[in-house]
């Protein structure tokens, strides 16, 4: 996979993950063009389209468009399933996920994505394992947070 974009019906970008090195300007340009192209498509149209020399696989969930760019030889249907699996993961984690969840907890969305995909390839397909890893990370975070908030570290907090 080369990149993944999440954007709303109004064209606002919610999440972007780039697996190829590109300059900022190029990223913006691609995003703009692609958002326009995908939003222009009608509901009954098929989920795949050719754009520049890439294949674009997109799916709409409620008000969000999930859009992936894959290379020529990649399997499109499986990419559709990647998107679906990601949505399931988000759903499981946030419990009935909606766009607001992603807006307010975008870093969690990124973490989940990182556990699932790495370097553009599927890393772990078991939902359980991915969610387990995220839970562990969360635990670690809470531990440090409690430590952080405890009185004995007030001094550290001030210094910090």
């Amino acid at each position: 996979m080369q990149f993944m974009l999440l954007f709303s019906r109004q064209g606002k970008l919610r999440l972007q993950k780039w697996y190829v090195p590109l300059s900022d300007k190029e990223k913006k340009k691609i995003t703009r063009e692609l958002v326009q192209t995908v939003l222009a498509r009608k509901p009954k149209m098929c989920s795949f389209l050719e754009w520049r020399d890439l294949k674009i696989v997109y799916k709409r969930y409620a008000s969000l468009y999930f859009c992936c760019a894959i290379e020529d030889q990649d399997n499109e249907l499986i990419t559709l399933e990647i998107i679906h699996r990601y949505v399931e993961l988000l759903d499981k984690y946030f419990g009935s996920v909606c766009e607001l969840d992603i807006i307010f907890n975008f870093e969690k969305a990124y973490f989940i994505l990182d556990e699932f995909l790495l370097g553009g390839e599927v890393q772990e397909t078991s939902k359980k394992n991915v969610l387990k890893a995220i839970e562990q990370a969360d635990l670690l975070q809470e531990k440090t947070e409690t430590m952080y908030h405890s009185k004995s570290f007030i001094g550290y907090k001030k210094a910090y």
Binding site: N75, L77, H84, F111, L118, G119, V122
Partner: protein
């Protein structure tokens, strides 16, 4: 900086934030990079799986070259180390993959490669997934290293495919076992050719068949995810089958499966089916099977609402096109073109053009198709397309008339595209004469038709039309005046565009100044393009097969022009098509066709002579002044025989007894080369028996400024009176040249001087007292009567000058022997000048009367 500090903290949250920051906002500030790398290194070495995981994620997300340099050695070790946790292994594998993608050279192949292959057997399917991706990419570069992975992959795949739905538990996705892994394994297998080991191959075939079978079974779940996952595996399997291209029954099954999908309810599946069929169509086994679906595809083309699907259908039609269905497919594509999206039109145009050309059995169909193409989507017809159609029309004679007619009709449409005007203009300019006979397409109508579109066109088209007009002037003299008016009009002559102005001015001058012949030469038909035929053959074909009367006349007219530059006017009757040349009679040689003494220089030249033998064999009238030159050469052997603006002929000869050798030098005085240069020696019949001439052929091409030499060996068999004629024919520029000169091979050349005393002389003189043996001639002196010159001439003549023989010292006496093959003839001569009267009396006595006659003639001319 803060971020780097965060990285080095031991707290997970901070580390996490720090890494997030780094991955999102990486820049190539070298200081920071070094620090970051250091922090990552620490984390990697820390053996804490969480930290290691974070670090690996960061590397994978950033994947810059500096990171690759730093860590490319480390990561494989982590990957294959026994004690790394599965999750870390996964991350390491994909991290390595990312680094490899960005900087392949920095990732060394080590012994870890075999260990990586073994990962395929790992229990943890996540690890297997990651490892498969890694191996797939690596295997594309180094297939040898990872060959062992094939069998492992096959066994893994079969285990998955045949597993019951409960086996893989969490890895089963909507009742499809491990779809992602299956897909990846199938991808990996596509990197390699079909396995040689029969056991492995058998297993793989089984596997693929199972997948195909499963597709036929009723779905286990109504959810679209189930069908998507199932079909994803199916499509990947089909790709593998296509890639292997070895099992015909699998291919046919795959094709049928795709055929079913073509009519599926879901658009996605139709799209993918069309796409896969495209690749299938190129395989030989399944090509036929694909063609059976042509109706479905055409239907899809017409009825699909989704433009991407329509596009795929067009691609598939292009792929499955061959001779049997070419016409149908092209027709369908043309009708689609009328309604197609603008963005894809150009591609479709090119495809149609390629298909039409490749599968054209009948080139009239090809012409029709291209013209339709221009009519429908003129804007998207690129230059190459209409260049190609013109090339083909010019190269193929049979289609020229049809093309001219069709183009003419097409141009009559009220709104025609500019490209059509271009093509039409060009074709009518070249072949308008082919339809000029028909009153509906008479030259004037053709011209008006083109001119009506003139002001609508852009500059390059107008330039092309101007060229067409001047070609019309050549082809149809009756419209010349009309065209000249057009050219003369201010809008052309004072046009703002330089190209148009130049063309108008030049063409106008050309049409007024040039004679019809030059015009014809300049505006000859375009020769077929060289990629198809050699230009020599092409020219030949053009000459041989002009299809109209006008062409024939023109070529004949141009051939007979004698652009000698000499003062002698060419008698117009020489160029008449069918009368034998009067000059032949002048020489009294009869209508003898020029017999080349050597092999014809080129087949082209020979054929030219054959086809137009009436006019070509006409020996041009003798060049002016040749008689004088001839006379000069009687008494001398070297010099310039003939010269005009183009050619210079020099001579150098030597004689001994009855043999002689003559070197003829032909000099090309111009800077253009002469082609088909053919000098021939013409001897009348009786001359041929008395004089034997042998010569070697000359190079038919004489470069500008060059000189070629021809050697003529001469043998005198018996005495002769006539002189042979040297006829030279060649092509200079576009015109045909014909030059004839008399070769000064005369009887006196074989004259050997004989010294003798006066007594001997008078004795012989009395011997030759027979009246026939003596010839006397009294004539007026043509040249000043100078003793020394006269003496020199007599010696040059070949006779020995005998002193103190004649009682009158003013008289000249000579004696010699004429050597022939058959006889030797003694000759005595006496020349008596009369200064007051400016006259001479010449007396010749030889043993043969004809000799006496001839020698007397020859010698009389000298004085």
């Amino acid at each position: 900086m803060e971020a780097v500090n965060l990285l080095s903290s031991n707290r997970y949250t901070e580390k996490q934030i720090g890494y997030l920051f780094i991955s999102v906002l990486v820049n190539s500030n070298s200081e920071l990079i070094r620090l970051i790398n250091n922090a990552i290194k620490n984390d990697l070495a820390s053996r804490n799986p969480t930290f290691m995981g974070l670090a690996l994620h960061c590397i994978a997300n950033v994947g810059s070259r500096e990171m690759a340099e730093a860590f490319a050695g480390e990561i494989p070790k982590i990957l294959v180390a026994g004690d790394t946790m599965d999750s870390v292994k996964q991350s390491a594998a994909l991290c390595l993959l990312r680094l490899y993608r960005t900087s392949p050279d920095l990732v060394p192949m080590g012994d870890w490669t075999s260990r990586v292959v073994h990962l395929l057997n790992d229990q943890h399917l996540g690890v297997v997934t990651a490892a498969t991706s890694l191996i797939t990419t690596l295997a594309q570069k180094n297939p040898e290293e990872f060959k062992t992975s094939v069998s492992l992959a096959v066994s893994r795949l079969s285990r998955i495919v045949t597993s019951a739905s409960t086996d893989l538990q969490d890895y089963t996705y909507y009742f499809v076992p491990a779809p992602w892994l299956s897909v990846k394994l199938l991808r990996l297998l596509q990197c390699y050719p079909p396995p040689e080991d029969p056991a492995v191959r058998g297993r793989l075939t089984e596997c693929l068949e199972t997948i195909l079978n499963k597709a036929q079974e009723p779905p286990k779940s109504k959810k679209v995810q189930h069908s998507n996952a199932k079909n994803a595996v199916l499509f990947e399997a089909i790709s593998l089958i296509i890639h292997h291209d070895s099992e015909p029954n699998l291919l046919v099954r795959a094709c049928n499966q795709l055929g079913q999908f073509l009519q599926h309810r879901e658009t996605n599946l139709r799209y993918l089916a069309l796409e896969s069929m495209c690749t299938l169509a190129s395989s030989e086994f399944s090509h036929e099977a694909v063609k059976t679906h042509i109706e479905t595809v055409i239907n899809a083309l017409k009825t699909e609402r989704d433009v991407s699907v329509r596009q795929r259908a067009v691609d598939l039609l292009y792929a499955m096109c061959d001779r049997s269905n070419a016409q149908q497919i092209v027709a369908e594509m043309l009708s689609y073109l009328e309604t197609a999206d603008y963005s894809i039109r150009e591609e479709i145009v090119l495809k149609v053009a390629i298909l039409a050309e490749k599968y054209a059995v009948d080139y009239t169909w090809y012409v029709d198709t291209i013209l339709n193409l221009i009519r429908i989507a003129g804007d998207y017809v690129s230059e190459e397309v209409w260049y190609r159609v013109i090339q083909i029309v010019i190269n193929r004679d049979d289609v020229q008339g049809y093309a001219a007619k069709t183009v003419f009709e097409a141009l009559q449409a009220p709104a025609c595209h500019e490209n059509l005007v271009k093509v039409g203009g060009y074709i009518l300019g070249e072949f308008g004469n082919l339809i000029a006979g028909d009153p509906r397409s008479s030259p004037l109508i053709q011209f008006n038709l083109l001119h009506s579109k003139f002001h609508l066109c852009s500059v390059p088209t107008r330039a092309l039309l101007l060229s067409t007009y001047i070609k019309f002037v050549n082809l149809f003299p009756e419209v010349k005046a009309t065209i000249q008016d057009v050219l003369r009009s201010d809008s052309q002559l004072k046009n703002a565009d330089v190209e148009l102005q130049q063309r108008a001015v030049e063409y106008l001058r050309l049409s007024t100044v040039a004679s019809t012949d030059i015009l014809a030469t300049v505006l000859e038909e375009m020769p077929p393009f060289p990629e198809r035929e050699s230009s020599i053959l092409a020219k030949l074909k053009k000459k041989k097969g002009p299809s109209t009367v006008t062409d024939l006349e023109e070529t004949k007219r141009e051939r007979s022009i004698d652009v000698n530059g000499g003062p002698e006017p060419v008698p117009a009757s020489t160029s008449a098509a069918s009368t034998p040349s009067p000059s032949a009679d002048l020489l009294g040689l009869g209508a003898v066709p020029p017999a080349p003494t050597g092999p014809p220089p080129s087949s082209g030249g020979g054929l030219l002579v054959d086809v137009f033998s009436d006019s070509a064999s006409a020996v041009a009238p003798l060049a002016p002044g040749s008689e004088d030159n001839f006379a000069r050469f009687v008494c001398k052997n070297n010099g310039v025989l003939f010269e005009n603006q183009l050619l210079q002929i020099g001579l150098k000869s030597e004689f001994r007894q009855n043999l002689g050798r003559m070197f003829i030098f032909y000099g090309n005085k111009t800077s253009t080369q002469f082609l088909n240069f053919t000098p021939t020696l013409i001897c009348a019949d009786d001359l041929q028996t008395n004089l034997n001439l042998q010569t070697k052929p000359v190079d038919p091409t004489v470069d500008g400024g060059a000189q070629v030499q021809q050697v003529v060996n001469i043998e005198c068999i018996s005495d002769f009176t006539e002189a042979p004629v040297l006829n030279i024919q060649f092509r200079y520029g576009g015109t045909f040249q014909n030059v004839s000169v008399k070769l000064p091979i005369t009887l006196n050349k074989f004259f050997q001087p004989t010294e003798m005393a006066s007594q001997d002389f008078f004795q012989r003189w009395k011997q030759l007292s027979n009246p026939q043996q003596e010839v006397q001639n009294i004539f007026k002196a043509k040249h000043p009567m100078d003793t020394e010159i006269t003496k020199a001439k007599i010696i040059g003549f070949g006779s020995a000058l005998l002193e103190e023989v004649d009682p009158n010292p003013a008289n000249f006496v000579g004696a010699g022997i004429i050597h022939t093959k058959t006889t030797q003839i003694g000759c005595l001569l006496r020349l008596e000048p009369n200064l007051q009267a400016q006259m001479y009396r010449l007396t010749l006595r030889t043993s043969k009367d004809t000799v006496s006659q001839r020698l007397c003639e020859l010698l009389s001319e000298q004085f």
